[in-house]
Symmetry: C2
Subunit: 339 residues, 2 copies
């Protein structure tokens, strides 16, 4: 049906290998033949079969991204669209396609990855989240398969990864609240098995310790990266006999849940509770009151991750394994002084 390299060769009166050489710009081939073949290719509307090409070249010009498990919840949070935006911008500039893989259960997720890797479906993989002791990471390491981690690996220092300095970022956010006069500061964390939760919690603790402030275990709550979790955390905090006057929230989306809850209950922000979130979502600016947030350069993270991966695929050796994207405090009304 479709026109193949053989058809072109026949019509041009040359062998298929000659056509192949024309395509790949082989040096030793006469200008006359090059022109003739190119003309005929254009005329016949020839396009190489990608599968056949990959089969022999063992290369796909495709990178895969592994979405954290429940892709369904996932996109509620602007983090993923934004990081993908960075990835797709870079990868399309370098003519790589992007294949998205996901599985509902953890088992399915691993299987999908194995399919991609062992089936030679992609040249490299981007992992969009870092968990503690991630089986995916170990698998890819053992296979010596090119991959880049968004976030960081606790276990292995040599893994390619791009991340913020989340400890420092959270430290900065907490310091900011302290500088606004707060003394009782809470923390709404994410799933404890994520490295980012751990890091941001550490930064929060470090800032408090350094300022000689107490940190009651009651003031630290774990949840998901969803509005609902923020709502619940807020309910809990506000029911405490001695409640925090400000909180650091691991993610803007969670912060919006807090905000919504507080409004429903008639509390005022920042008077009754100061808040600062992470990610500086576009929404943060529009919320009531506008939400302070740590901008972590998500787009940049995605762009850099793609860059590192493609460099790695092309065999570049001299590369820092860890890229750190700078963060930036964006102070808005939600964290102004309580008085």
């Amino acid at each position: 049906m479709a026109v193949t390299i053989v058809d072109v060769a026949k019509r041009a009166g040359v062998s298929p290998s000659t056509v192949s050489r024309v395509i790949s710009g082989h040096p030793r081939i006469s200008p006359a033949t090059v022109n003739k073949v190119k003309e005929i290719m254009a005329d016949m509307g020839y396009h190489p079969n990608v599968m056949a090409k990959s089969l022999v070249s063992k290369t796909t010009s495709t990178i895969g991204i592994v979405l954290p498990r429940p892709a369904e919840e996932l996109f509620q949070n602007m983090f993923f669209p934004e990081v993908i935006r960075g990835i797709v911008t870079h990868s399309s500039r370098t003519s790589y396609d992007l294949l998205m893989a996901t599985g509902v259960t953890e088992r399915e997720e691993l299987e999908a990855v194995i399919r991609l890797v062992k089936g030679r479906r992609v040249d490299g993989l981007l992992l969009l989240h870092s968990r503690k002791r991630d089986p995916l990471v170990n698998f890819l390491r053992e296979e010596h398969f090119p991959f880049v981690l968004v976030g960081r690996s606790e276990e292995h220092a040599d893994i390619l990864s791009v991340d913020n300095d989340n400890v420092q970022a959270s430290y900065d956010a907490t310091r900011h609240l302290i500088s606004q006069g707060h003394r009782r500061i809470g923390f709404v964390s994410g799933p404890p098995n994520l490295v980012v939760s751990m890091d941001r919690l550490a930064g929060y603790r470090q800032a408090l310790a350094e300022a000689g402030l107490a940190s009651s275990p009651e003031w630290i709550v774990e949840g998901e990266f969803l509005q609902e979790s923020g709502y619940q955390a807020m309910s809990f905090f506000m029911s405490l006999p001695e409640r925090p006057t400000a909180i650091v929230v691991i993610d803007d989306l969670v912060g919006f849940g807090v905000l919504r809850g507080l409004t429903e209950l008639g509390f005022k922000v920042p008077q009754d509770l100061g808040i600062i979130g992470f990610n500086n979502t576009p929404m943060a600016e529009l919320a009531t009151p506008p939400l302070s947030s740590v901008d972590i350069g998500i787009y940049q993270i995605g762009y850099t991750a793609s860059q590192m991966l493609i460099r790695r695929i092309k065999g570049e050796k001299t590369m820092q394994p860890r890229a750190v994207i700078p963060h930036r405090l964006v102070v808005r009304e939600s964290s102004l002084p309580p008085v």
Copy 2:
């Protein structure tokens, strides 16, 4: 390097075709052989090479999505993440992978699609936007390549597409404003070459005409699907000698731009200007004041589009070419009566 079907065959003492048959669950093969082969496959960690398989089967178990051109701006709007969420949920359930293609210029976009189609890289394509007289659509039609359009085609009625009834949706939104007592109603549209802009504008006009209300050309403004466009539209409206008392805005994101601008200028919503948007973004609820919006079921659109495409790929013939996802008015504070 990697273990192939031949290796498995050798070790099992059978021919490669037998192994292939075991994999594909061929009926006439003895249980004894099946077990032995399966065991050895597991033992050797065999996974079929996807490229080789596609090459001979002419099938990839992959669907492509074509992002509208500047993917960079694109993800600012929650529409795309949300529609992709629907797509990925369905496609991963049916074991199809998702390949994202995009190009910076219109030319590149078309080239990318040709590469995917002619290179037999994907089994089908999802077009995420409908433009008037889209060259992509014509190309795919001529190639008889399976594809589904998100939106609708002006020209061809037989094209598979999933859409809202945007005329009706916009009509409903406008009627709603009229029912709140508004008599001077404006419209902020999107790029005029998009079918969705056209349809929503038509619905707006229809509602006004039916209510015997005037619609000054000054009250209709075109822009992009970006906050910035809303901001500009707002500036223009508020500078008019006779300005609208309410507006229908083609997209929530644009609506937020309007909202932000009004706040900056000290105007009150809905007292000074009533607003209703489209898409019912999560943000709409959090804005100040909460933004009324037409919920068009974006997730459902994506899910259905994937469903239709995969059915089409599998050769299903009895299918309605046009799926229409119902919409729903979500009234919030931004469109309450002006008095």
